[in-house]
């Protein structure tokens, strides 16, 4: 499903020197599986996620999504990939502020033409958004906004969901709620999930966990 082979990335510092952030990462995620990505702040978790989503390009190595290397894809093909295969959930929600909640939820599904009303009803009910559909995003609380973003990411049942600290903006209680929902709904959608998080607690909801440190990945065992 997702395979990373010797992926490296370095960023130039203000003094002009290159600092390696990712140094030859090997990683694999099978269809329907979920994995947590842990690591200290600044260790390169977001960078890795961006590379997988094709938002940035690695300095070297290979990223394969569904047996296809994304390194050689054109901008248009990458857009296609994000439209149908990869969904993103960010800490900052990234909702379209001028569209109503219902339009936000349906957006990507309509874009990829995989809109399923029954699945929508299920998602909305599970995420408790039934009363919020006609509101604008700024009329919602942070947790509600994130649930909208999750609904949007899952409605078209993408093969892969990439989440970057989806609960980073939320308090402990709603974090847990959102996490539980996310892992449950991802399973229902049959998608694979790679999620960046700071919390082992969150990581415990997922099948596997990895620790990013000094540019390389280490497998972690999380006991709940």
């Amino acid at each position: 499903m997702l395979q990373l082979i010797k992926v490296s990335k370095a960023f130039p510092q203000p003094d002009g020197q290159l600092t390696p952030i990712l140094a030859g990462i090997d990683f694999q995620l099978n269809a329907g599986q979920s994995a947590a990505l842990l690591g200290a702040s600044g260790s390169g978790k977001s960078t890795l996620l961006h590379l997988i989503a094709g938002l940035d390009t690695p300095d070297s190595g290979e990223i394969v999504v569904r047996d296809q290397s994304i390194m050689t894809l054109s901008e248009a093909k990458l857009a296609e990939l994000r439209r149908h295969t990869i969904s993103l959930v960010f800490q900052q929600f990234y909702l379209i502020s001028t569209l109503k909640v219902v339009d936000n939820i349906r957006f990507q599904a309509q874009l990829s033409q995989r809109y399923d009303p029954a699945w929508e009803k299920q998602l909305v009910d599970r995420l408790g958004l039934g009363d919020q559909l006609q509101k604008y995003p700024h009329q919602l609380s942070g947790g509600q906004q994130q649930r909208v973003a999750i609904a949007r990411a899952l409605l078209h049942k993408p093969a892969l969901v990439l989440a970057d600290e989806p609960t980073g903006n939320l308090d402990e209680h709603s974090s847990e709620q959102v996490m539980a929902l996310l892992s449950e709904l991802v399973k229902q959608a049959g998608s694979a999930l790679l999620m960046v998080t700071h919390s082992r607690q969150m990581a415990s909801y997922l099948d596997q966990a990895y620790w990013l440190k000094a540019g390389s990945l280490h497998s972690e065992v999380i006991d709940t």
Partner: protein, 829 residues
Amino acid sequence: MKGLGLSLKALLSHYWCYPWQALFLIAGLCAGVALWSAVQIINGHARASYEQGNQVLGAQAYYWIRAKDETGVSTADYAQLRRQGFREVYPVVQGVLLSAKQQAIPIIATDPIALPVQAIQTNTSATEFNGLAFMQAPYQAWFPPSLARELGVQVNERLLLKDGQTMPPALLQTQTQQGRQVLLDIAPALSLLKRDKLSYLAVTQLSEPEKTRLQQSLPAHLSLVENRQSVDLSQLTQSLHTQLSAMSLLSFAVGLFIVFNAVRFSLWYRRPTLRTLRLMGVSVSTLSLAIAVETLVWSLVGSGLGLALGYLLSQSLLPTVSSSLQSLYGANLGSDIIFQTRTLLWAWLLTLGGLILALALPLWQQLRLPVLPSNTLSTHWRSDQRTRKRLLIAASVLALLAIFIYPLIHQLIQGFILLGMVLLAAAWALPALLASSLKLLEYLLPPDSFKARWLIRDGWAQLPALRTAMMALLLALTANLGVEMLVGSFRTALSTWLEQRIAADFYVQGSSQFKLQTLLDDPNTADWLAAVNERTQISLRWQEHPLLLRGVNPSAPDSQTISFTQALPDALKTWQAADSQQQWVLANEQLHYLAGVKLGDSLALETPQGPVAFQVIGFVHDYGNPYYQLFLPNSLLKRYWPHAEPWNTSLWLKDQRFAAQAEQALLKAGAKAGDWVEQKTIKSLSLSIFDRTFAMTAAMNSLTLWVASIALLAALMAILQERLPEFAQWRALGVNRLEQWLVMSTPLFIWAGITWLAALPLGALLSWILIHKLNVMAFGWSMPLLWSMTPAWHLALLTLGVILFTLVLVAWQLRRKLPQALAQLGAQA
């Protein structure tokens, strides 16, 4: 396709939530397009009017038969031609009557029976044109309804004229080709105009043999000329129309700045939406397409509304334009706008082109950014710095280019291109100037003051948003200043010139029955008359242009004080002597600037005895005259053109208290009341014609300033919108209202001040180019440039007013929206 629709929905939902942004966009589009299209409509209408003028009494008037000496064609000559079987020839009388209320009434007359069938085929009027009532006392006067409205004439009213005569009963009735003139039968027209000759004979299309036969049958004093009226008019008025176009183009350019600004802002606000769309897999090309569609929709809506507004505007500007065309060139424009699809289409296409340019540029900038741009202010500043540098380089290149092409300019249109380059270069250089003002401030303010640092940092953050608005302001200020200077200089030059040219106390019209000899024979005359100048005239054609020859008395007081713009040594004395071997004449400077005649050049003029050469000894100012004109002593004029007609007679009084006595004496010498005018009347009349001519320019100028004001308002509102959360944070941090306003508005005032200062030298440069290059090329009038600070102060006040107004508006918005922003601050913390 799905992506396109969804993207459009997401993008356009922005305007649903922020309708005022849509409003500004539309306002900018409309304002720019309206003025531009108004002038296009007027110009198109004018051209159509000239063409229609050509069709007066038949599009088939291919030729005219005119007297070689321009004294008119006698009815006997006309009758003779008809007897010889030339049925293609029909008589025309044209002239202008003066109503008792001093309104000018253009009339045209013909003989409906003689009118060839082809000539009346285009007649669409319901009433039979050759009905008996038209040709029999009390006759009929056919008023075009629009002209009747203008003059306040009712059906069947007999309009009273200034000389006491009345016109035939009015009929609100038009024949398509009569234009903005009252149609009469020949007989009443001649008696109203107190003439005994026809203006000319019109001739419909002729075959080559017929033409030869007609030419051979003409008596020696008549000639067959091609009908060139519309060509002449188009040539003469072209400068004015070009001038108008250029002015409107300027406001269009300012309008484009607004559109550019508005689009930049609207895309800037929609950055998050654009980013989200791309994150969800909408490709850049789909987004470009979506924004292109949006652009197209805006352009269509904006240009459509703008055209409609332009139409209304053109109707309100038309009276001013037609009155200046009438007084300058004697051109009649109809008062009902003639729409020309071609003109409209062109105006619209150009509008669309400009808009797309203004819309595409920011779009391209926006889409080149990475999907997840590092959204820090520092990168934003850096890219803004790069933009400023690029603009400055472009400005320098353009300025150098302008300097380089300056000497190569010979045509009006090239002159306007030069003007555009100078203005654009100035506008592009402005952001760098504004930025350096912040650097200077940074240097001047105490480095350890936190508030000073904050103020300057905030200035840097505002600069990208206010940049374009300031450029638009600069353009508007410069244009206003430049044109104000032009008009002011012109007005001064004109009144000084009138002072000298119209020095006598009374002017008796040449058409009067007044006999100078009778006056001079009266023994009492010597008591009050100081001097007299009896003038004569004849009009000819020279190099395909009308040329007026004016005979004056070289020993009259106003002939002693003639001031030259250029002259050979001892010019005045030599010219006055008139009896030397050479035929010396004075020429108006139009001949120098427009026809390229130089001092000492000789002009071959057609006299009844054949061509004679006259030499130019000096050039004089002749403001307001579109024609070439030569001045020569009466004796010289009489020698070659014995039939020269009287022009006017000017009388100098020994003292002003003899005025009443002089008027009595004029009446005794055959003049009727209204045949003479006093000096002050002529002067004020001339100045009012001048003012009317420039009223249009003034109107366009103030509109341009309004357009720029909208830009400023839009920019400030945009900043407010963008920074509202930030302002809320300030408040949350304990910044008080005064501090906030100080930080927000200080850079604005500083930059407006700098922009105004920059507009001063630029305005001077603009007026210099207008006066010394464009005006000379357009009209052939030269004048000294007079600098005055008054208009500059006016503009400063106006700008200040606009800024204060926008700040009040922004303050009101802030008051309304800040509580909500503060509340959200809490919600999202």
